[in-house]
C-alpha cells in the first residue's frame, strides 16, 4: 500500500464537483445561445436560455459560498504562491510538464497538507478564481439585468461590451477547463487525482 494523506475536506470536494457540473452546463448552453442557428443541432434556444439563466445564478451563489468558505477555513492561503523562489519553482514545474513527465520522472514538488498546489497551479487557479470568474459572473449578472448595462457604447448598444467580455472570459474558462481536466490525468496513475477529488485522500 502506498503512502496517503487526507488532503481535501468534504466541502472542497462538494464545491469542486458542483462547480464543474455547472460550468459544463453553462458551456453547453452558452455555446447553443451564441452559435444559435437552425442548421446546428444544439440545445433549443429557449431551453438553453432557461437552463443557462438558472445555472448562472447557481454558479454565482456557489462562488459567493466558495469565497466565504475560503476565508473562514483559511484555505485561500493555498492559492498564494509562497516566496522565495516562486519563479524558479514555476520554471522547474514547467520543464517537468514539457520534458520530465515524458521520461517518467517524479513530480518535482511533493504534495503536502501545507502545500496542496505547486506554484504554477497556485498562480493559474488564483487568476481563474479571483480574476476571470468575477468578470464572468458580473457580466453574466448584467446580462440577466440589462437595465444595469451602460445605455450606449460608442454608438453601439451598451450590452455589446458586456456580451463580448462574457464571451471572452467564457472562452478563457473553457480553455482552462480543458487543460485542467487533462492535467488531472498526470497523477501517480491517470485516475488517481480524480479519486483524490472524490474521496479526499492523496496518494504519493
Amino acid at each position: 500500500m502506498s503512502e496517503r494523506i487526507y488532503l481535501l475536506p468534504l466541502w472542497i470536494r462538494l464545491w469542486h464537483w458542483t462547480n464543474a457540473l455547472l460550468i459544463i452546463t453553462l458551456t453547453v448552453t452558452g455555446v447553443s445561445l451564441h452559435f444559435a442557428d437552425p442548421k446546428l443541432p444544439l440545445v433549443e434556444f429557449s431551453l438553453a436560455a432557461r437552463i443557462h439563466d438558472m445555472a448562472g445564478i447557481a454558479l454565482a451563489t456557489l462562488y459567493a459560498c466558495f469565497v466565504v468558505a475560503n476565508i473562514v477555513t483559511g484555505n485561500w492561503w493555498q492559492y498564494v504562491p509562497k516566496p522565495p523562489g516562486v519563479l524558479e519553482r514555476c520554471i522547474v514545474q514547467g520543464k517537468w510538464y514539457m520534458f520530465g513527465i515524458f521520461r517518467g520522472e517524479p513530480h518535482p514538488y511533493r504534495v503536502s497538507e501545507e502545500a496542496n498546489f505547486n506554484a504554477l497551479q497556485a498562480i493559474s487557479y488564483w487568476v481563474i478564481m479571483y480574476m476571470v470568474m468575477p468578470v464572468m459572473l458580473l457580466t453574466g449578472i448584467t446580462f440577466l439585468m440589462p437595465e444595469f448595462a451602460p445605455d450606449r457604447f460608442f454608438g453601439f448598444d451598451g450590452l455589446l461590451p458586456v456580451a463580448i467580455l462574457h464571451y471572452l472570459t467564457g472562452t478563457v474558462i473553457i480553455m482552462f477547463m480543458i487543460a485542467h481536466i487533462y492535467l488531472g490525468t498526470t497523477g501517480k496513475t491517470a485516475t488517481s487525482m480524480f479519486k483524490t477529488m472524490v474521496n479526499g485522500w492523496h496518494e504519493h
Binding site: L33, H34, F35, A36, D37, P38, F45, S46, A49, R50, D53, Y97, I101, F102, R103, G104, P146, G155, F156, D157, L159, L160, V162, A163, I164, Y167, L168, T171, I174, M175, I178, A179, Y182, T185
Partner: protein, 333 residues
C-alpha cells in the same frame, strides 16, 4: 348638405394638389409645399386655441362643455412632428369645425384614409380584412385604421428611423388596448360562456411568459414582428394580424445570423447598412445586441481556434506521454 358640398370641393382641390405634387400622378398623398404648410400651421392655431392644455386652462370663451373639451386635447408639437403635421385640420375634419359650437354631424364627416391614400389602402385593406380584429364578431364593427394609427401622433417608420422609437410607437398602438382593461372592454366581444359580460382581458405579460425578458423584448421589438405573416424583403409589413396559433414562437427567427429583423423592424435601414468591425447584422447592433444575430465571425474564428489549439495541445501531450510510457515499459522488459 351645404357643408358636405363644400367639403367635396376642398377634397377635390387637395387631391388635385397632391396629385400634381406626386411625381407620377398616382392617387397617393405626397409631401406638402412649405408655403402651404406654413399657411396650414397658422390656420390650425385657431383650433389649438381650444384643443390644447393651454386652451383648457385659458379658454377663449366660457360657454363650453369643458369636460368634453378635456377629452379632445391635442399637442401642437406632437402633431407638427407627425405624418400629417403639415396639414390643415380641416383637410380631414371638414369645414364643420370652423366655428364653435361645431356643426351638428361633423363628427361623421372625417375623411376616410382612402381619400388620400387610395393606393396604399387598396394594398392594405385585403390584408387588414383577413386580420383577427376584422374577423372577430363584436370587434370588427368598432375597429378602423385609426384604432391603431392616431393620425395626429404617429410618424411613419421611414421618417422615425430609430428602431427603438418605432417599437415604442407601434407597440403603444397594441398595448393601449391589450394592456388596459378600460379600453379593451370597449372593443371586446361578449364572453362565450357568460352572455352579456365582456370577455376578460388576458394579461399580455402572462400570455408571453415563455418569452424571457418579456419587458425587454417589448422595448426592442414590435408585436407585429411575431403576429404578422412573413413578407418578402423590401416589401412593407403585412397588415394581417394572424390568429394566435399562427404567431411566431421560434426564437431563432430573430436570434440567428439570418434574422427576420432585417426584413421587419430594420427593413428601412438595411439598405444603408454599414458593416461595423465585421459584425453580422451591424444595422441592428447600434440599437440592440441580439444574441445569435449580432456576432463577429472573425472573433468566433479566433475563439474556436484557441479552444481547438488547447484541445490539440492536450491531445498531443497525452499521445507523447503514452508513446514514451510504452517505450519505457519495453526497455524495462
Amino acid at each position: 348638405m351645404f357643408q358636405s358640398w363644400r367639403k367635396t370641393i376642398l377634397t377635390l382641390l387637395i387631391l388635385g394638389l397632391t396629385r400634381a405634387l406626386a411625381a407620377h400622378g398616382g392617387t397617393e398623398a405626397a409631401a406638402i409645399d412649405p408655403a402651404v404648410a406654413e399657411k396650414n400651421r397658422k390656420a390650425n392655431e385657431a383650433c389649438f386655441a381650444c384643443h390644447t392644455e393651454a386652451g383648457l386652462k385659458n379658454p377663449p370663451r366660457t360657454d363650453m362643455d369643458m369636460k368634453k373639451l378635456a377629452e379632445t386635447l391635442r399637442d401642437p408639437k406632437v402633431f407638427a412632428g407627425s405624418n400629417h403635421g403639415t396639414m390643415d385640420c380641416r383637410q380631414c375634419h371638414g369645414q364643420g369645425y370652423n366655428d364653435y359650437p361645431h356643426s351638428e354631424g361633423s363628427k361623421n364627416e372625417i375623411s376616410p384614409c382612402s381619400e388620400c391614400h387610395a393606393t396604399r389602402v387598396a394594398r392594405l385593406e385585403p390584408q387588414y380584412d383577413k386580420s383577427v380584429h376584422a374577423r372577430l364578431e363584436g370587434v370588427k364593427a368598432k375597429f378602423t385604421c385609426a384604432t391603431c394609427h392616431d393620425p395626429h401622433v404617429n410618424l411613419g417608420a421611414t421618417l422615425l428611423k430609430d428602431p427603438l422609437k418605432i417599437a415604442v410607437q407601434d407597440n403603444q398602438a397594441c398595448l393601449e388596448c391589450h394592456d388596459s382593461d378600460r379600453v379593451f372592454a370597449k372593443y371586446a366581444p361578449d364572453d362565450e360562456k357568460k352572455p352579456g359580460i365582456k370577455k376578460a382581458r388576458p394579461d399580455i405579460d402572462t400570455i408571453h411568459d415563455w418569452l424571457p425578458n418579456t419587458k425587454l423584448h417589448w422595448k426592442a421589438v414590435r408585436c407585429v414582428e411575431c403576429h404578422t405573416p412573413e413578407v418578402k424583403a423590401n416589401r412593407p409589413l403585412s397588415h394581417e394580424i394572424l390568429d394566435k396559433e399562427k404567431a411566431e414562437k421560434n426564437c431563432l427567427s430573430c436570434h440567428s445570423a439570418n434574422s427576420s429583423l432585417r426584413t421587419r423592424l430594420y427593413r428601412h435601414l438595411v439598405k444603408e447598412e454599414v458593416a461595423q468591425f465585421g459584425f453580422t447584422n451591424s444595422v441592428i447592433l447600434s440599437s440592440s445586441y441580439v444574441i445569435g444575430a449580432t456576432r463577429n465571425p472573425t472573433l468566433d474564428t479566433i475563439v474556436i481556434a484557441l479552444v481547438g489549439l488547447t484541445l490539440a495541445g492536450v491531445l498531443l501531450h497525452g499521445a507523447i506521454r503514452i508513446i514514451f510510457a510504452i517505450r519505457r515499459k519495453g526497455r524495462k522488459q
